[in-house]
Symmetry: C2
Subunit: 536 residues, 2 copies
Amino acid sequence: MYSQAVDRSILTPLTFIQRNAKVYSQKVAIIYNQKRFTYGEFANRINCLASALRHAGLEKGDRVAFFCFNTPPMLEAHFAVPLAGGILVSINTRLTSQEVVYILNDCGAKFLFVDTELANIIRPVQNNLETVKHIINIDDLEGFEPLDGEDYEAFLQTGKPTPLSWIITDEMETISINYTSGTSGKPKGVMYSHRGAYINSLGEIIETTLTPNSVYLWTLPMFHCNGWCFTWGVTAIGGTHICLRKFNPGNIWKLIQQKEVTHLNAAPAILISLFNHPNCPQLLEKPLTITTAGAPPSPTLIEKITKIGAKIIHVYGLTEVYGPYTVCEYQSDWDNLMIAEKAKLMARQGVPYIGADGLRVVDQNMNDVPADGQTMGEVVMRGNMVMTGYYNDPEVTERVFRGGWFHSGDLAVMHPDGYIEVRDRMKDIIITSGENVSSIEVEQCLYRHQAVLECAVIAVPNARRGEVPKAFVTLKERAQVTEQELIQFCRNQIAAFKCPTKIEFTTLPKTSTGKIQKYLLREKEWIGYEKRIYGG
Amino acid sequence: MYSQAVDRSILTPLTFIQRNAKVYSQKVAIIYNQKRFTYGEFANRINCLASALRHAGLEKGDRVAFFCFNTPPMLEAHFAVPLAGGILVSINTRLTSQEVVYILNDCGAKFLFVDTELANIIRPVQNNLETVKHIINIDDLEGFEPLDGEDYEAFLQTGKPTPLSWIITDEMETISINYTSGTSGKPKGVMYSHRGAYINSLGEIIETTLTPNSVYLWTLPMFHCNGWCFTWGVTAIGGTHICLRKFNPGNIWKLIQQKEVTHLNAAPAILISLFNHPNCPQLLEKPLTITTAGAPPSPTLIEKITKIGAKIIHVYGLTEVYGPYTVCEYQSDWDNLMIAEKAKLMARQGVPYIGADGLRVVDQNMNDVPADGQTMGEVVMRGNMVMTGYYNDPEVTERVFRGGWFHSGDLAVMHPDGYIEVRDRMKDIIITSGENVSSIEVEQCLYRHQAVLECAVIAVPNARRGEVPKAFVTLKERAQVTEQELIQFCRNQIAAFKCPTKIEFTTLPKTSTGKIQKYLLREKEWIGYEKRIYGG
């Protein structure tokens, strides 16, 4: 009706910090050990970092990689990088040198920020970096040799705390790229848009009931789907972030009590270690909401969490959908059920978030499977909570979006009440302690050993880590290698969490055409389990 | 990166009912007297109404007017009309025949739904309806003669409960038109978009902390900014709506206790009548959140509300910004203040919602006034929480959006902490019990009386209704009329709440060029008041 579009503005997480720099200028935004930053200071540091990046030559769309722990710089980057006009690439700190260099080159990072404790991962491959022009050291913990490059705090000093104007002009522009283990064995860069990040952030506020009084403890790595968008969400609501360099169950309980933590997120395997720790209290003094994903929480875990007075929210998603996409919404009539029955219902992946569009479980012809709780199909999703695509890979993007829906590769049933329950995976992915591992990547690694003739890697259930990779290996004639040697061989190449925990030397079952029948191996390993996914 | 846009979907409140029809199919969505509708039934009725509308000839963009109370059909319309492809026009039930017919003709309504109790308002002007083709009677309360036309429940029967596919293709399409008293004297149709309605709904969930356990009592008319978007918001979160035909303080307290109400919204004047009622409990049994707007709540009111254990949230906005736009976010360091000091801070209009974009207080040259808590300027706003414009009035739209910002006509100061405080109005608007009245409209009405030579209408403070219209009248020579006669003369033309409560016969102060100096009249009436706006 009128010339200027003043009736809409870009949906971007940048509005969150812009607002709360004013609204909560004196409120504590971040606590990290003895450090405290108010929202005013947080915003100032973000503006400094953003202007420093621009000053150092960042151009619109440049990729800025962060390889660090859940420290304040990682949070600052979530706003400063897009504010500067860049795209944030936050890298899993558990990866090996080879894996990290692959990601840095694949995304073509111009800037690399590295925690000094991780400098040793970069150093051996520094000459292989094809695009990185600036290295900035985050010197958080004493005793580590930094890389050649600038210091984070000194770098901030080259910027200014005055608010910067935005460079983005379209809410569909990319805000971040998150690498995930691809089924092809190579990690793929999942692109998030400003709009998607915005809507997912509000979704997390609503589904986990964050308020300005919330105190969020960073047990979940921020490199996982930008911390499931809680980096942006907790900031949006004006809550307090408690940063955490490393996960240590005993320390977590202390923090929960000292800092009056109200919310934390973790995979069930992590929660199991937390709830089995001697510091776990009999009863919490304050309400605590725990959101879990990566695998269904077991009845035992649900019972333990509930017993001490905490609330558990079970969500499901994957990197391609900004982290959580469904939530097992609690129905009040479950109150009357016995704990075992209730836990069974709560272990289901549930229903879409308010901000999600469709969720379907479909057969190969894209027809919905019957909602009978029995017929399996693939989980497909679409809408604002789905990635815009894989970076530099239109072909695979096109494939996973076939038929107008994102194909998760997860196999589920649809229950009569509309809740989905994931039972198995089509894709060769193992989820161990909340980390994705591509079986193919592990197999490729094993094949590099001269003694290995053939191999197959599958997920097997494990009480502590949920699932772990197990390898089945046929050796070449007369070749010899021990299980331990082969595991060590893998450890030299890929992240420790990806390496097989067990290797069985055997002949592999095959079809008449010579294809390895992994499902036969899986069947044997999963006897006695209802589902083929496991969270401990 | 790929051909189909599966990474985004239209932001529309239609997704809310689509989701919760499945997620909460068995949960109670609406309670109205002895009636109860689950979300499944609610969705079915919405689908019936939408398909009935299409069947009856509704075409995309047609206006569908509802002239009724806060009964289930009014809620159903908020989803069914946009689902059918139409635009909802919900009309203030306190208006006169002439006022209603003006709105119906101005928006060009094709369908008119009328509560039988209001049939008498329509009947005398039925022949003046220029565009209405279908009249549907909502026969909610016995004893009233319906208009010639169909019955609501029978009309629903002509539709089908099967889900309908949407017609909207762009989230900026209009979902509703809400008429507001214009400063020109004629009501203006404020257009809301699907996108704006969506973002405002999520904003209400977040700011007033609605959860699926929330029970929302409809004390606020749904014809006010679509119930400040709570029609959509409460549905989005899967809460329970308690419908309410009429506001009756004694009954409200009973409902709050019987139905375990957790949330309600009302203007301070309404709250005053509620909290001064003998049924008001000493202490509430369950938490209750009261959101108030239309005028700042007084310290007395804030104290009363807090004392019984309820929480008060003060928000500010206007029809042009979908209802609330700012919220007086509570800061934890206010805990330590004395109640009087705290109430003063809480009576400020505050800071923008998370989903709002900018908020400024500007001088005539669009420069920000200093944040000194003293310098007055006009409140201007923009972004997703601002209307798309006035229906069929590009000229006025252009004017209120001058400089790229929506001009509220409210005068405020900006405090050093970034909170705004509205002190006065530039526009000739009186806000009485939460209803807007155009002084000009009242003056035009008075001028129709043959005895009136000149008149001026202003807002004066009133303990019960906040503000009320007062008229200053100069009679023609030798003409005679009493105060009561003149008030009755107004009542025959305009809604009762718009009529002057007092008339002073006097000569009017004027400038040398003959312009009436309303501000001199106001000054006299507002002696002893800090601000020139008042909520009781």
